[in-house]
Subunit: 115 residues, 2 copies
DNA sequence: CAGCATCCCAAACGATACTG
DNA sequence: CAGTATCGTTTGGGATGCTG
């Protein structure tokens, strides 16, 4: 983001960037997405992967992720019914964002711990 | 984030990614950062660039950004004193994150508006 | 197992007024 | 200009218990 960017270009970035963080916000959203990146999971599996989360919050966060088309909930028709959560293509498109956040998160921890 | 990643690798990503969004969270943080990417700015300039923000919120967000070493506040010694905010190298290191968030934010808006 | 309902506390945010 | 103080509202989130 050097001076290659005009003021107008930068101004135009604010809204999309703000939108993005807004969607990803919530204490557990990224954790859930990262889990579902590895494999489809059921509700109880997710609570095991993310031990501190409560049922209430998992339920809420899953709904919001679904609303934003980042994950999908499927019910197997046959008894016993299985409820499974999986990441959508749109969710997968967060790949680069997650990678960059990860890199920067590590860097930031170092930076902060040094002072 | 395909199956190149083991479950352990993905588990290890959760904390850094969560750290990163935590730091960037707050309704105006990225907006401020993007503004300061273009040029150093004074308090009142920032409120002009980001019309909806209140003095209180700008003040709060600036402090948090400074605590996290993303921006710097400098006071010119000569009268009249000038208080200026500028982005730090660490703040600039968010470049890739911002770029990816921007790209994804645009994509997301399209995705959502289609349904 | 897969949640939802309720209650409650803390943090985020906004509006307004005021100060050096 | 560059903020701070105070107050009220809204949202986020934890604890617990209940349901199909």
């Amino acid at each position: 983001m050097e001076k290659l960017y005009t003021k107008e270009t930068l101004r135009a970035m604010i809204q999309p960037v703000t939108d993005a963080v807004y969607v990803l916000n919530g204490k557990w959203k990224l954790a859930i997405l990262i889990c579902l990146t590895f494999e489809n999971m059921r509700f109880r599996q997710l609570t095991n992967e993310i031990p501190q989360i409560t049922d209430r919050m998992l339920s809420k966060e899953l709904k919001e992720l679904e609303t934003n088309l980042l994950i999908r909930r499927t019910v197997s028709p046959a008894a016993p019914k299985r409820f499974e959560y999986s990441i959508t293509d749109h969710g997968k498109s967060l790949h680069n964002v997650v990678i960059e956040l990860h890199k920067w998160g590590l860097k930031h921890r170092e930076e902060i711990s040094q002072r």
